[in-house]
């Protein structure tokens, strides 16, 4: 199954991809759209991705985790328009022991946020929009609207 999806993410589907009779520990992480960011009320948001590179990088990160720990990883990121409460990203990691499942799960989400080319554009309750940019002062840069 691919890394990017424009359909709602179902954690149960990821669990089924990683579970096996010899894997007794399953750690998951779900990133959900929040109703506020930097003190502003979020109405909804849109994720765009550099598709081929995001797929390649998502697969690389899963592979790194699976070679560093004896685990199986499933990871998915949603694109397109998301509402508050929608799952944006999901990671499921199964292994024989819980320490490695937790560590690998944490690794995948940290690397994903750092390396996978996906961008979030927030729309606020007042109708204005901004690009989320962790390197910018205030964490966002207003959308100027020359292109989508």
């Amino acid at each position: 199954m691919g890394f990017l999806t424009d359909a709602p993410i179902r954690l149960e589907a990821l669990l089924r991809e990683v579970e096996a009779p010899d894997r007794g520990a399953v750690a998951t992480f779900l990133g959900v759209v929040r109703d506020h960011h930097q003190g502003r009320a979020v109405r909804d948001l849109e994720y765009t991705a550099y598709g081929p590179m995001a797929e390649a990088e998502g697969a690389r990160i899963a592979g790194e985790a699976e070679s560093r720990w004896p685990v199986r990883v499933a990871v998915r990121h949603r694109t397109g328009r998301l509402a508050v409460g929608d799952a944006a990203v999901a990671v499921a990691v199964a292994g024989a022991h819980r320490a490695e499942a937790f560590e690998a799960c944490r690794y995948v989400i940290e690397e994903l946020k750092r390396r996978v080319p996906i961008w979030k554009r927030e729309r606020y309750a007042d109708g204005t929009e901004a690009w989320v940019d962790p390197t910018a002062a205030g964490g966002v840069v207003p959308v100027e609207g020359r292109a989508r």
């Binding site: 390649a56 990203v89 961008w119 940019d133 292109a147």
Partner: protein, 85 residues
């Protein structure tokens, strides 16, 4: 140019697409042009002066430094700071 120019696609995303008004730019480059050279060409385009001083660039789906060279058919992408997850 004394040698044949090489065709390269440059993809722009999110805020960078907004600044330059394009999601894709097709360039004809001199052989031996580096990633830094590609970035200079983009900075010279309308809106390109507002690109940040430090840019993440991918060549064929992998991040590379300014010194990396560009070959015919390469896919270059300018990556704004990532904000997935």
């Amino acid at each position: 140019m004394t040698q044949a120019a090489i065709p390269v696609q440059v993809h722009l995303f999110a805020r960078y697409a907004e600044l330059l008004g394009h999601e894709r730019v097709d360039l004809q480059l001199a052989p031996g042009t580096t990633v830094g050279g590609v970035v200079s060409r983009l900075r010279a385009m309308p809106g390109g002066d507002r690109l940040p001083a430090r840019l993440l660039v991918a060549r064929n789906l992998e991040q590379v430094g300014d010194e990396a060279t560009v070959s015919a058919g390469d896919e270059i992408a300018l990556l704004p700071p990532m904000s997935g997850g």
